[in-house]
C-alpha cells in the first residue's frame, strides 16, 4: 500500500498512485498528485480536472478518452475537445493522468 502526504495528512493510494478514497480529495491533494506526474497545474488543467469530477459525480465512472474528448468539446468548445489539446496538458494520457490528479479511479477500459 502506498500513500501521499497532503498538508500533513496521509492519503492512501493504490500501487499506480490513484487515490483509494475519492472523498478525501482536495485541491491540495491534486497539486501533490500533479507534482508526482510532473504536471504544472494551470487554469486549463483545473478546467479539465473539474470537468472530470463533475462527470464522475453524475455518471459514477471516469470516462474513456474518446468520450472525454467529445464531452469536453461540447462543454468547453471545439478548440479544447481534441486530443492534441488534452495531450499537451496531460502528456501521459488525458484520461489516465487527469483522472489520477482528479482523485478518480482509473477509467474503465483504459489501456
Amino acid at each position: 500500500m502506498s500513500s501521499i502526504e497532503v498538508a500533513g495528512k496521509m492519503m492512501e493510494t493504490d500501487e499506480e498512485g490513484y487515490l483509494l478514497n475519492l472523498a478525501e480529495w482536495t485541491e491540495d491533494a491534486a497539486k501533490v498528485l500533479a507534482a508526482a506526474e510532473n504536471v504544472n497545474m494551470t487554469d486549463a488543467h483545473w478546467e479539465v480536472i473539474n470537468f472530470l469530477r463533475e462527470y464522475y459525480d453524475e455518471y459514477q465512472i471516469a470516462p474513456a478518452v474518446r468520450v472525454l474528448t467529445k464531452a469536453i468539446g461540447k462543454k468547453l468548445g471545439p478548440e479544447k475537445g481534441n486530443s492534441k489539446y488534452l495531450y499537451e496538458l496531460f502528456p501521459y494520457g488525458p484520461a489516465k493522468q487527469a483522472c489520477k490528479i482528479a482523485g478518480l479511479p482509473k477509467p474503465t477500459g483504459c489501456v
Binding site: Y59, Q60, I61, A64, T108, G109
Partner: protein
C-alpha cells in the same frame, strides 16, 4: 478489423450478484473500441434499468447512473422485453431515461430504449454476430 455486431444479454437483477455491473463494464470497454453494441434486458434483468435505485441498505455502490453515460459511448440500441416488464408490473415509465445525440439530425436527443415483444427480441438476438449472456 471488421466491426462485429455484439449483443449483451442481461437477465439478472442488478444487485445480489456481480453480473449486472460486470456486463456494464464490459459494454463500456467494448464500446470504447468502437464495436457495434446493443444491449438487451430480459427477465429480472429489466430491474437493472429501474429509476430511483437506492442501494444504501445493501451496502453496494449504486451504479445505475452509469447507464446514462452509454449515450456518450455511442451505445444507442437498448432493447427491453415487454413480457418481462409486464410480468413484474412495470412499464416504460418506471425505467431510466436513456438518450443519445443523433449527429445526423442536429444532435437531437433521442431515446435509446426500445420496448420490444418477445418475438421481436428473438429476431434481434438472431441478427447479432456475438451474444454475451450475463
Amino acid at each position: 478489423m471488421a466491426t462485429k455486431k455484439m449483443l449483451y444479454l442481461n437477465r439478472r437483477a442488478p444487485y445480489g450478484s456481480v453480473y449486472a455491473l460486470e456486463s456494464l463494464e464490459v459494454v463500456l470497454i467494448g464500446a470504447a473500441f468502437e464495436q457495434d453494441v446493443s444491449l438487451a434486458f430480459i427477465d429480472d434483468g429489466v430491474f437493472q434499468l429501474l429509476k430511483g435505485q437506492n442501494t444504501a441498505a445493501v451496502g453496494m455502490k449504486n451504479f445505475s447512473p452509469t447507464y446514462k453515460a452509454l449515450g456518450d459511448y455511442d451505445v444507442r440500441k437498448i432493447f427491453v422485453e415487454k413480457e418481462s416488464l409486464d410480468a413484474r408490473g412495470l412499464n416504460r415509465d418506471d425505467l431510466l431515461d436513456l438518450t443519445y445525440e443523433d449527429e445526423n439530425e442536429g444532435y437531437a436527443e433521442k431515446d435509446s430504449i426500445q420496448v420490444v415483444s418477445r418475438a421481436d427480441m428473438a429476431g434481434i438476438i438472431e441478427q447479432n454476430d456475438v451474444v454475451f449472456s450475463f
